[in-house]
Amino acid sequence: MDKPSVYDFGIDDDSVPPIERSVDITENVPPTVVQRYFESRYATNVNDKPNQDYSVLIHSNNLCILSLASTHVLMGKTIDKIDFQVSGNTDRLSNNMTGKGKRGAQIVQAGSTLCKVHCSDGEEHKILSAIPGKLVQMNSKLADTPNIMLDKPDDLGFIAIVLPQKQRFEKIRDGLLTKEQYTNRNSTV
């Protein structure tokens, strides 16, 4: 970039390390966004239903991103349609909130239905919230492209963003399996 000469002030650009030398780059593949900023936790058998297994990515700011875990009952199936009208008066896609406090956001409990999935094999499954909190965002892309939930669960196919109550946050986090516990559990089942 050429800086306008009127603002020249004699800083020697050569003394500023180029961007490639301004950060430490590991010998391995650099950590992904998820690995850098999120702690990976799991909830299994939510509502005591087998393979209602979810991944919970916890950001350092306490926001939680819910997605299907690899052991979720839906994995390997094909989704025809997702229904966000979970009860007579609750539509997860019309979740209106205002301001930074997210006033008016829908509140979910651990086990609340986030949406209903109709599979190509005729089965119907409820997608459940793994944790309690404010529903900050439901992934509306799932309406048009439902199968990203299975193909890219930890990215485009996340289910929802939930913000746990500040006072209950640590208890909620500690009630979830760590990545290690989840992996061990899968290898012993």
Binding site: V6, I11, P30, H59, K102
Partner: protein, 467 residues
């Protein structure tokens, strides 16, 4: 002097007015002359016998000695010791309410007599504050070297105490709600007969003298602006405090403010900048415009040399460089803030993909690009969740090497964006919440960002300094 006026003046003196008050109550504000006031005061002091034991019924002793000289000396010594460098000063008086009421009472008396003598005579008079300022001005100017100016940025406020204020106001409080604000208006809207029936024909002779309580001063805010570079990836713009706990030792704001604080001796410093970069983002190029408001500064004169000296002191910190430091006025700050919202920002992002380099031309060909960006997850806890349209004006990707072979391909992207665009999210897409993004353009889910630099904030502010 008009004989009638002379007669009223004699009456006021008899009732217990000091000579200064007797004169000012018979002078219209436009005709006031400091010499007349001073000679009235001197005459008073040359006649020590006359009602010497009673404070003046109008001013409660404000124009009488020893109070008058005592207050003047208090103001002078305050200005001499308080380090204010202003060449000028203005004075404000917090007079007890009863001095206003007493003035009103005497004014009613004077206008009543004047109507008898000469109905066309004006009734406006020189109020105590103005007369006192006129008389004190000369002594203060001589002693401090500061000029008196009603538009001075330095306002010296003198507070007074008067023991018997409650009794004096109580008789009027019975019929009207008195308040310090607009007291003069409240009184003049009152029916004169009501006033006199409650308060009496003339103010009573006071038993105590008005006392000096306090002198304090306040200088209008002074603004200093410049541009800063941030060379560190572990420094926040403003102090980073979570739950009253410091997360980082210092900040750009503190590094810049400390050398200025030391010189300005201000009560408060308010740092503002044209936007902000993340802790791990460098601010290169010609830097980011910023301004500091100095609230009630004592030292306000920053010469070219002093400003360079401050810059040098700031720049001993290897994390920050400040340039173009200068004095600005409040009106100029608008530009700083508008820049935050409307101006173009130029960035350089070091990106990578796993495996082979994608076709970089795909990116170079797609600008300008309109994107939709949800509030990034990393700030979503403290901001509303909204989707905003943003424009990427230009993009240029160039392959680069980092000297490490980890199976990834690296490239730099120089992009200029609309203010308010979150660039990191534009690279990785933030769980699909920024769309399109570099991942969608390259159709590669492994695109990510390793480092970000701001190359330019496209605002020509403040005016360049000649070095």
């Amino acid at each position: 002097m008009d004989q009638n006026v002379e007669e009223i003046q004699q009456n006021l003196l008899k009732f217990g007015c000091c000579r200064v008050c007797a004169v000012r109550h018979l002078t219209k504000p436009s005709a006031i002359n400091v010499k007349t006031l001073i000679s009235a005061s001197e005459q008073d002091h040359d006649e020590p016998k006359r009602l010497k034991e009673n404070p003046c019924i109008a001013c409660l002793g404000l124009f009488q000695n020893p109070q008058k000289d005592d207050i003047i000396n208090k103001i002078i010594s305050y200005l001499k010791t308080s380090k204010y460098d202003s060449d000028t000063f203005n004075l404000a008086f917090n007079l007890p309410m009863c001095t206003i009421i007493r003035g009103h009472s005497i004014a009613l008396y004077v206008s009543k007599l004047r109507i008898t003598f000469n109905p066309t005579f004006p009734t406006a008079f020189v109020c105590a504050k103005d007369a006192w300022k006129l008389m004190a001005e000369d002594a203060i100017v001589k002693a401090t070297g500061k000029r008196f100016d009603v538009h001075s940025p330095l306002l010296v406020t003198v507070g007074f105490h008067y023991k018997d204020i409650k009794d004096e106001c109580d008789c009027l409080n019975a019929i009207i709600k008195l308040s310090n604000k607009n007291l003069q208006n409240i009184l003049s809207q009152m029916d004169n007969k009501d006033f006199v029936s409650q308060y009496g024909e003339m103010p009573s002779v006071p038993e105590s003298v008005i006392e000096f309580k306090s002198v304090d001063a306040r200088h209008e805010s002074v603004y200093i602006a410049g541009r800063y570079n941030k060379w560190s990836r572990t420094l926040s713009q403003t102090p980073w405090i979570v739950d009253q706990e410091r997360r980082l030792e210092s900040s750009v704001e503190e590094i810049i403010s400390d050398p200025i604080k030391k010189r300005a001796l201000a009560d408060e410093f308010k740092f503002s900048a044209s936007g902000r970069e993340d802790i791990d983002v460098r601010m290169l190029g010609r830097g980011r415009p910023f301004a500091i408001e100095l609230v009630n500064p004592k030292q306000t004169k920053f010469s070219y040399e002093v400003l360079r000296e401050i810059e040098n002191e700031i720049n001993t910190d290897p994390q920050v460089t400040v340039t173009h430091l200068q004095n600005v006025v409040r009106e100029q700050l608008k530009e700083l803030k508008s820049g935050e919202e409307f101006k173009i920002k130029v960035y350089k992002a070091l990106c990578y993909v796993e495996g082979e380099l994608p076709d970089l031309e795909k990116l170079n060909n797609c600008a300008p690009l309109e994107i939709l960006q949800y509030t990034p997850i990393r700030v979503l806890h403290r901001r509303a969740n909204m989707v905003r349209p943003r424009t990427i004006h230009s993009m240029k990707a160039v392959a680069t090497k980092v000297g490490i072979d980890n199976g990834c391909s690296f490239f730099n992207v120089i992009l200029s964006t609309q203010a308010g665009t979150y660039v990191k999210e534009f690279v990785h897409g933030d769980f699909g919440r920024t769309n399109p993004c570099l991942r969608t353009v390259f159709e590669n889910d492994t695109v990510d960002i390793l480092a970000l630099d701001v190359l330019d904030i496209e605002i020509d502010w403040p005016t360049p300094v000649k070095y």
